[in-house]
Amino acid sequence: MKKNVTLLLLFLTIGICSAQQVEVIKYDQLKSLMHAPNGKVKVINFWATWCAPCIKEMPQFVALQEKAGAELEIILISLDFAEKVDKVSHFVERKGLKSKVYLLDETDYNTWIDKVDKNWSGAIPATIFVGKSGKNQLLHEGEFEENGLNVALNNFIKTIN
């Protein structure tokens, strides 16, 4: 009996650990994430649970994550309000998202949108590709058409190499 309880606890712990905790971050942390020169090409997607076109294109990011090697990093930045972090976590769990998900808690939008990318209007979805050096970056504003994410990523990798 004791053994069973221990086993149950163990399973529960594993279950809790495997569900991703969505970390709430500020702009400075986003900046570090975007520009870390960690030898990986980064795909950074700005989305929200309330944004229909964001949800519609999410499977493209899931598919890309499935085949991503060590040189590609996919980061999903939720722009839901911080008090909705549980809703975001539930979404991540339900969809089984393997990519790292953060919630950016910065609601004074005009103070940081230009810093993320001068060409970005602030409309979501928006995706930014960043080169391995953490320097070159390219913005795609709006929803990707079918297979559009792969095409855009391949084009970006070609132009920076």
Partner: protein
């Protein structure tokens, strides 16, 4: 040689003017008038407002959660400034096939439900939206009526806190409209905010 220089400058000028049209209007540009169908079935143009001193043109829609959060604040803007000569003109830019909740019939329903005191127009062809260069909802253009037309004074967000009107510390549109009414220069002419993309018709 001279011809080549001329050709080159023509080429550069054409490419520049093309890029400008693609980006819509900027601060100080004249904003084109339009003729769009209002929720009451009548057509509305800026030129109909003989006594207006300017306009608060708001690209907004039924379905975008950020537009919904700003519904009351847009009504408040109109109630504060229409009598002073700066009415709100709301324009729904979204394609009804891409976003069925933004069809003309749904606009009529929302305008009735919220008792909109301002015109709520449908840019069905999206021509006006493209001419202005609106990219998201809600997206505001403050215009000042001058002898040479309606000149753009401000482009951007309504204020700096979508979530709660109590948390607002910068009222961008009110500041811009006050400046226009007082004959002052608008200090902050462009701002950005998170919002929904405009749902463009499939080309």
């Amino acid at each position: 040689m001279k011809n080549k220089v001329l050709l080159l400058s023509i080429l550069i000028m054409t490419s520049l003017s093309f890029s400008f049209t693609g980006d819509g209007v900027g601060i100080g540009d004249e904003a084109a008038d339009f003729s769009l169908k209002n929720v009451d079935g009548k057509t509305v143009s800026l030129k109909d407002y003989k006594k207006a001193k300017g306009f608060i043109v708001v690209f907004t829609c039924n379905t975008c959660p950020f537009s919904v959060m700003y519904e009351q604040r847009i009504i408040d803007l109109h109630n504060k400034y229409a009598s002073k000569g700066m009415p709100v003109i709301a324009i729904n830019p979204n394609d009804k096939i891409k976003s069925p909740g933004d069809s003309f019939d749904k606009m009529v329903d929302l305008a009735k439900e919220k008792n909109y005191p301002f015109p709520y127009l449908y840019d069905e062809t999206q021509t006006t939206t493209k001419a202005y260069g609106a990219t998201n909802t809600p997206h505001v253009y403050v215009l000042k009526k001058t002898k040479k037309g309606n000149v753009v004074q401000y482009i951007g967000a309504i204020d700096n806190n979508a979530k709660s009107s109590e948390g607002v510390s910068k009222r961008y549109v009110e500041d811009a409209v006050d400046a226009v009414l007082n004959g002052d220069k608008v200090k902050e002419t462009k701002t950005k905010a998170i919002g929904c993309t405009i749902k463009w018709a499939a080309s």
